[in-house]
């Protein structure tokens, strides 16, 4: 890898760093609505972000995540609702006075300024005295492993380096809230994975409340304290990465994050904490969790491919299937199964010998069923 890590020696760097702030900000969005041509891009979004928390807005393009972010930054005026930083209402405060820092997908560096002037721009605007400016810019440069590049122009830097300059420029002003607008989507896949870890590490160290927008579910799962899944301007589900992945509450969340088999079926029996579900390809027992449905109701639910595995003696929920496709992925085999006309996604260990057309018996874990709204 060409680029070193941001913190090659974390302990050492941490001592020299006083970019972090003592005062951190909570962010509260109250019933935020933003319309474009009478279509609500953001539709009654309610969200509270704790001090120092890293929250990701995740969703497909056009779901309102970027609009939400830009409304927080002040580039858009909300049509309804309120934005608070701590207890301060921000609705009518112009972007320049909000003390947020935004990292753009395009990096948005000033092409006519060298690296140093780019980073120092926010400090100049805040009328920070010259010696203090120098100190802080130098620290930010060192933190981002950019020392020695002060005099370069953005056009002379690689994408990864431009990204670092953008990050340095964002944190050097000690913002109340850091805003990220898909900052990694212009980097190649390997660098993306590396930089996201570094962003997370930096954020934790500086303790700056951060809002991160992405459409990449892996990125969201890897980087966030909490994920806000958005769809069509509304929040679908809020939770930490584990609960979002393991306990999706709507079919949108189940389908958008990871792979899922989303089906519906009738409850035919109930005992203690379990329900029996009638499906076209058999009857299955599932842990009910908080499910309130009674016998006779039709319910929607999902389960992950990794919970559909080859049957072993004593395993739960047997299902006979025909294998349609078996795609070798290296760490596993991705399977498309046909269960009496219903298509199921499943996983097998990479050593398994499975060919399209084979008949096989699989089983579905009772704990895997997630009931959806």
């Amino acid at each position: 890898m060409v680029y070193g890590t941001l913190f090659s020696d974390p302990g050492e760097n941490y001592k020299t760093l006083d970019i972090g702030r003592e005062i951190m900000s909570r962010l509260i969005l109250k019933d935020l609505v933003k319309k474009f041509d009478n279509v609500a891009a953001v539709n009654h979004v309610r969200l509270e972000v704790e001090e120092g928390e890293f929250v990701t807005l995740l969703g497909p393009s056009g779901c309102g995540k970027t609009t939400t972010l830009r409304t927080i930054a002040g580039f858009y005026q909300p049509d309804e609702g309120e934005i608070y930083f701590n207890d301060k209402l921000m609705n009518n405060i112009p972007p320049a006075k909000r003390n947020t820092s935004m990292c753009f997908q395009s990096y948005a560096l000033f092409p006519h300024m060298n690296v140093w002037d780019n980073i120092a721009f926010g400090l100049k605007m805040r009328k920070i005295p010259q010696p203090e400016q120098k100190k802080r810019v130098a620290q930010a440069l060192e933190m981002m492993s950019l020392s020695g590049m002060e005099k370069r122009m953005p056009g002379q830097l690689s994408g990864g380096q431009q990204q670092r300059v953008a990050l340095a420029r964002a944190i050097v002003t000690q913002p109340d809230i850091l805003l990220f607008d898909e900052p990694l989507s212009n980097l190649d896949a390997k660098l993306r994975v590396q930089v996201r870890v570094e962003i997370k590490e930096m954020q934790k160290r500086l303790g700056i409340t951060s809002i991160y927008v992405t459409h990449d579910q892996d990125e969201a799962l890897a980087i966030s304290d909490r994920i806000v899944v958005m769809n069509q301007g509304q929040i679908e589900q809020v939770g930490d990465p584990q609960s979002i992945y393991l306990h999706p509450m709507t079919s949108f969340v189940a389908g958008f994050i990871g792979l899922a088999n989303i089906l519906s079926g009738q409850v035919v029996a109930r005992k203690e904490n379990q329900v029996q579900l009638e499906l076209p390809f058999g009857r299955f027992w599932a842990f009910a969790g908080g499910l309130r449905a009674s016998v006779g109701d039709t319910v929607r639910f999902s389960f992950r491919p990794e919970n559909v595995v080859q049957y072993r003696e004593g395993g739960p929920n047997k299902v006979s299937v025909t294998i349609q496709h078996a795609i070798f992925m290296g760490d596993a085999i991705d399977l498309f199964l046909d269960a009496k006309g219903t298509r199921l996604r499943a996983r097998a260990e990479s050593t398994a010998k499975l060919k399209p057309g084979d008949l096989a018996v699989f089983s579905i874990d009772e704990t895997a069923f997630q009931f959806l709204e």
């Binding site: 948005a108 006519h112 056009g155």
Partner: protein, 289 residues
């Protein structure tokens, strides 16, 4: 033996044919350029150096005798020095004024969503496609009415109007080319409107600004129609002197001298600015996006 065999391979032959074609094209274009630009300049220089007592007439391929006679004549018997001064005072004033007029216009046309934007962008260009004399004839009525004829400020205004379309067009494109993200980033970091204009917009449209200024400057230096109608006889510029040698008493030798006087500073300026534009950071950094 092996070498001859290789020479006969079809792709080697094709590559060589291709190379020959490229060379031929290059030679052709250089030739056209030389005929189109080089020959007239060379002829102008020759004509300007023809000795007054030895006219350059038909059977001679080159003038019999060269001298500075024509140059001395022009400097002695015309107001060329005053005209030079007028021209080179007018042009910078006109450039400055058209800069001040075009900046807000180009900003709005380039960055704001306004109804009928395309229409306005076209309207702005209209003066370029109108015949110069037509514009001049009708504008001169307006200038007369406002007492701007035979008046230096009137002349500056006239030259500004002629250069404005180029300036607005080029600047509009430059403003359009600035990514909104960069402006948002500046605002996000605390820049107010004044800082945004001074530190972001102006430096980023600089290449376009320079190009527009060259257009406006050369337009002003070459502008004849309006200058002639509303300026003479109070003001003479290089073109009005040049035109006085054309027309009924056509004197090619003197006209060549004035043409060179008009042309040389422009050429120098063009190269200077071209050099300046080479440090074009903008395309370098935005090319990556």
């Amino acid at each position: 033996m092996a070498a001859t065999k290789q020479k006969n391979l079809w792709y080697v032959r094709q590559a060589r044919r291709k190379r020959r074609f490229t060379t031929l094209l290059t030679v052709f274009f250089i030739l056209v350029q030389v005929i189109w630009v080089g020959v007239p300049i060379f002829m102008t220089v020759l004509w300007s150096l023809v000795d007054p007592s030895h006219p350059w007439s038909f059977p001679n391929i080159l003038p019999e005798k060269l001298s500075w006679g024509q140059w001395i004549y022009v400097f002695k018997y015309t107001n060329i020095l005053r005209a030079l001064k007028t021209s080179y005072t007018l042009a910078p004033c006109a450039v400055l004024l058209s800069f001040l007029f075009s900046l807000p216009t180009a900003y709005v046309l380039g960055r704001k969503q306004i109804p009928g934007k395309k229409f306005f962008q076209t309207i702005v260009l209209l003066p370029i496609i109108m015949p110069g004399m037509v514009v001049a004839l009708f504008l001169s009525r307006v200038f007369n009415a406002f007492g701007l004829a035979q008046n230096f400020f009137g002349l500056v205004l006239a030259h500004t109007l002629m250069g404005l379309p180029y300036m607005i067009r080029v600047l509009t494109t430059s403003f359009e080319a600035i990514p909104q993200d960069v402006i948002d980033a500046a605002e996000n970091l605390g820049a107010n409107t004044f800082v945004k204009i001074k530190d972001i917009f102006l430096p980023m449209v600089r290449p376009g600004l320079l190009a527009g200024m060259i257009f406006a400057f050369t337009t002003s230096i070459e502008e004849f129609n309006l200058t002639f109608i509303i300026g003479t006889p109070t003001f003479e510029t290089i073109p009005t002197i040049l035109y006085s040698f054309l027309g009924y008493n056509f004197i090619r030798t003197n006209a060549s001298v004035v043409a060179l006087i008009m042309m040389i500073p422009n050429i120098i300026m063009l190269f200077a600015v071209e050099n300046f534009l080479k440090s074009d950071y903008l395309s370098a950094s935005l090319g990556k996006l």
